[in-house]
């Protein structure tokens, strides 16, 4: 953290000093095999839970078939643009979920590339959502395009500021960003409960007893490009998310800013020695990271994912910011990986809640919790590449052991 200190001599070449450095090391070691194995393992264990609690292996398998079609992925067998078709509708909803998760995933990924763990995506998402709601509801009679742009911009800015607080604290007094972002999450949580609660500044004026915000005026809503406006069609937020992916990639790989951010992420001491202002980059990376999450919140508000309004009771059930952690970790903090991770979790999120809602396989209420179980397992496993590599290498090790029974010291790979 000291800007002028010379880089200390490397102690152990195998152990990189920062989280990002270690992740990069493991990435070289595991490649794409690790994320895939992680997902398969998590899905398998989720299936085991279903099979065990329903006393039927068959149901465990059917559950995944239903999740698959619930996510609308069976659409590829008979493509149609008619949203009245159930698979097309499901796919459209999966796309909406995915675009939110792309952005919250990018938020986590960007901070990771600078060696920081932004666990506060949820709070930054909330702040973006609150500000977008405020602008979207309270401004009336402005140009529609200007209104949308202003709401998106200020929502993004709100997320950036919220994460920036953690960045400034880290850069100036060395407060650990994990602690400060967790605290900021809960501050945002109660701030929202206050905003939309009875008598709160953003509570709707028509029903003073319901703790929910007003609706975003039609002029400020994101236009749909697929489906009927007002019937939860696919809005242009999907393209904004895709554009954010490109911005993320270009920022990191084609700009000086990205070079500095990555250098700080790999080794802050070496970066400082090379003349990079570490403090400035920590703040900058956190702010950019929060901007992605804030944009996600603004898009969800203006795009109608929450029916253009938000209430105190919705707050505890919003988990997209935390899902972003799983998305980014699974995606190896790269743009393409984040997209794939977001697709997986977007499909899982919508697929479990809507594919299993018939109650034929498991109770519908179980389905949502299955998502959390799989999500938790993915996060748990993905942080432990050593486990996956261990499983991956075990056939070879078994062979070796059989040929040399005396040498049984081979344990976990170092």
């Amino acid at each position: 953290m000291t800007d002028s200190a010379p880089a200390p001599p490397p102690q152990e070449p195998a152990e990189a000093s920062t989280l990002a450095g270690r992740l990069a090391l493991k990435q070289r070691a595991g490649g794409i095999a690790v994320p895939i194995a992680t997902v398969l393992l998590a899905f398998f264990m989720g299936g085991v839970v279903v099979a065990a609690t329903q006393h039927s292996v068959h149901k465990g398998l059917i559950a995944y078939r239903d999740i698959f079609s619930g996510a609308g992925l069976n659409w590829i067998f008979h493509p149609t643009t008619n949203l009245l078709d159930i698979s097309a509708y499901n796919l459209s909803q999966t796309l909406l979920q995915t675009s939110t998760l792309v952005l919250t995933g990018l938020a986590v990924a960007f901070a990771f590339r600078c060696g920081m763990f932004n666990i506060g995506g949820q709070g930054q998402y909330f702040m973006g959502l609150f500000v977008a709601n405020w602008i979207g509801v309270s401004l009336v009679g402005v140009n529609s395009l200007g209104h949308i742009l202003l709401a998106l911009l200020l929502g993004t800015l709100a997320g950036a500021v919220w994460a920036g607080i953690a960045g400034v604290l880290k850069a100036t007094v060395g407060a650990h960003e994990v602690i400060s972002t967790i605290m900021l999450n809960w501050i945002a949580f109660w701030f929202g409960s206050w905003l939309f609660g009875d008598g709160g500044p953003l509570q709707n004026t028509t029903q003073p007893t319901v703790p929910i915000s007003g609706q975003v005026v039609p002029g400020a809503r994101l236009p749909d490009f697929w489906g009927v406006q007002g019937f939860q069609g696919v809005h242009i937020g999907v393209f904004i998310a895709l554009a954010a992916l490109v911005v993320f990639w270009a920022l990191l790989n084609r700009t000086t800013l990205g070079y500095e951010v990555k250098a700080v992420g790999f080794n802050p001491d070496a970066a400082a020695y090379g003349g990079i202002n570490v403090r400035k980059n920590l703040i900058r990376a956190m702010a950019i990271s929060g901007a992605f999450a804030g944009l996600a919140g603004a898009i969800d508000m203006l795009g109608g994912t929450t029916n253009y309004q938000f209430g105190t009771l919705d707050i505890p059930f919003s988990q997209v910011g935390f899902l972003g952690i799983a998305v980014a970790l699974l995606g190896r903090n790269t743009a393409l990986g984040t997209l794939l991770g977001a697709l997986l979790f977007g499909g899982l999120l919508f697929g479990t809640t809507h594919g299993l809602n018939s109650g034929a396989v498991i109770q519908p209420e179980l389905a949502g919790n299955l998502t959390y179980i799989i999500e938790g397992l993915v996060v748990l496993f993905v942080g432990a590449d050593v486990l996956i590599l261990y499983v991956w290498n075990s056939p070879r090790r078994l062979l070796r052991r059989r040929s040399k029974p005396a040498a049984s010291t081979a344990e976990l790979p170092a």
Binding site: Q363, Y372, L380, G383, A384
Partner: protein, 402 residues
């Protein structure tokens, strides 16, 4: 040097002449200014809070002038806050005041602080041994659900506590395996545990209880009814839950174990310098495993209190812990990884929650905003405004045996 100044050079007077003392005095007076206006003192005039507050602010300015800027500003702010709160309290009616500040406020503070005490002590064990435990939240949730399940099936709250503790210990064992043996990133792993626990408890809640409230008549945690001690004490500590008393005892035991026993020395050495500990023959892995599992057991008992104690009253709801595990983590950091400090922070956070509930009398809105206080305070604490928080040196770093 005359004998007169020589006498002044003893350690106590040196400490008194230090600028810090005026700073602390200022902070104390600032708090006192607010206290003047509320029961039991309840001065029904704005003069006294303002006077005392101004003295606190002057002390703050003096402290700044003497070089302790942080502390000085703290005293200044405390004085200002004291005046504000004091004046506000004076303007509200005596009835409301008496309703908001009475003996049950103390009881409620202890009650709300109970899960935090367990969580913070759990965190101290884990982190002192060098394993960051972000998963406290999830482990607490496991305790809340499996505790009530045990009490329901086993017929008595004792089984509930045991089952809840076992569930917490089990998920902590899984976490310990990932954090210690597989050397996974501990914050990622803890986040995984939190998400997983939400899923597991939610899933089994639907599966076993069909999302309906747990059947009536579940054996609840008993209260400890003390003999008559006079009005105030009866209300304050006469009917606390058995786990609240257990929490008090746990704080003392934690302090003794961590700082006064050879085991505690080993735990701390694993958290500060695991290689050195290994060199002198301490089994770092064994210490860390037992500490993390113990941590899971303790925080899960705090979780049992949530569902089985006076607040939950035998009900479980989805994601019941609702950030309490994180507040416990915050209390541990606020208390600088020390049992006494963490206990104080847990009481402070419990008090602020109790106050938030009471503020509903005045305005529900203010009560909601007040819920932010523990998080804001922790943010302020990690920012180093109130002294520097120092984590164990090897906290969060996986250890590889050579």
């Amino acid at each position: 040097m005359s004998t007169w100044t020589a006498r002044l050079d003893n350690p106590l007077s040196a400490r008194l002449r230090d600028a810090a003392i005026t700073g602390y005095l200022g902070i104390f007076l600032g708090v006192f200014a607010a206290f003047l206006a509320i029961p039991p003192i309840e001065a029904r005039t704005i003069t006294w809070p303002i006077l005392v507050g101004i003295v606190a602010m002057l002390l703050g300015v003096w402290t700044i002038a003497r070089g302790r800027r942080r502390l000085g500003w703290g005293a200044f702010a405390a004085g200002l806050l004291g005046i504000g709160l004091g004046v506000l309290a004076t303007y509200s009616s005596t009835d409301n005041l008496n309703q908001a500040f009475d003996a049950t406020l103390v009881a409620q503070t202890f009650g709300l602080a109970t899960p935090l005490m367990f969580g913070a002590m759990a965190g101290i064990f884990s982190e002192r041994s060098g394993v960051v435990n972000i998963g406290l939240e999830g482990m607490m949730l496991m305790g809340a659900f499996w505790g009530i399940y045990g009490a329901d099936k086993g017929g008595t709250w004792v089984v509930g506590v045991l089952v809840g503790a076992a569930a917490g210990g089990l998920i902590a064992l899984v976490y310990a395996f990932f954090a210690i043996h597989l050397r996974s990133d501990q914050i990622v792993g803890g986040t995984g545990v939190n998400l997983l626990s939400v899923g597991i408890t939610g899933y089994f809640f639907v599966q076993l209880y069909h999302n309906a409230p747990v059947p009536n008549g579940v054996s609840l945690l008993p209260d400890v009814n003390l003999p008559d001690m006079g009005n105030f004490l009866d209300g304050a500590i006469g009917g606390l839950s058995i786990l609240t008393w257990a929490g008090f005892a746990l704080v003392i035991v934690t302090y003794l174990v961590i700082f006064k026993t050879p085991i505690g020395l080993r735990i701390r050495s694993c958290g500060e310098h695991p290689r050195a500990a290994d060199t002198v023959g301490i089994n770092v892995y064994a210490i860390r495993y037992s500490c993390v599992v113990l941590s899971g057991i303790l925080v899960a008992i705090g979780g049992v209190y949530l569902s089985e104690g006076p607040q939950g009253n035998g009900t479980f709801i989805f994601n019941m812990s609702n950030g309490q595990g994180f507040i416990a983590l915050a209390a541990m950091i606020f208390g600088n990884w020390r049992p006494a400090g963490a206990f104080g922070a847990a009481l402070l956070f419990g008090f602020s929650s109790a106050l938030a509930l009471r503020l509903q009398i005045y305005s529900p809105q203010a009560g909601t905003l007040f819920r932010m206080l523990p998080y804001v305070l922790t943010l302020v604490a990690v920012a180093g405004v109130i002294g520097r928080t120092v984590a164990p040196a090897a906290d969060g770093k996986p250890y590889v045996r050579q």
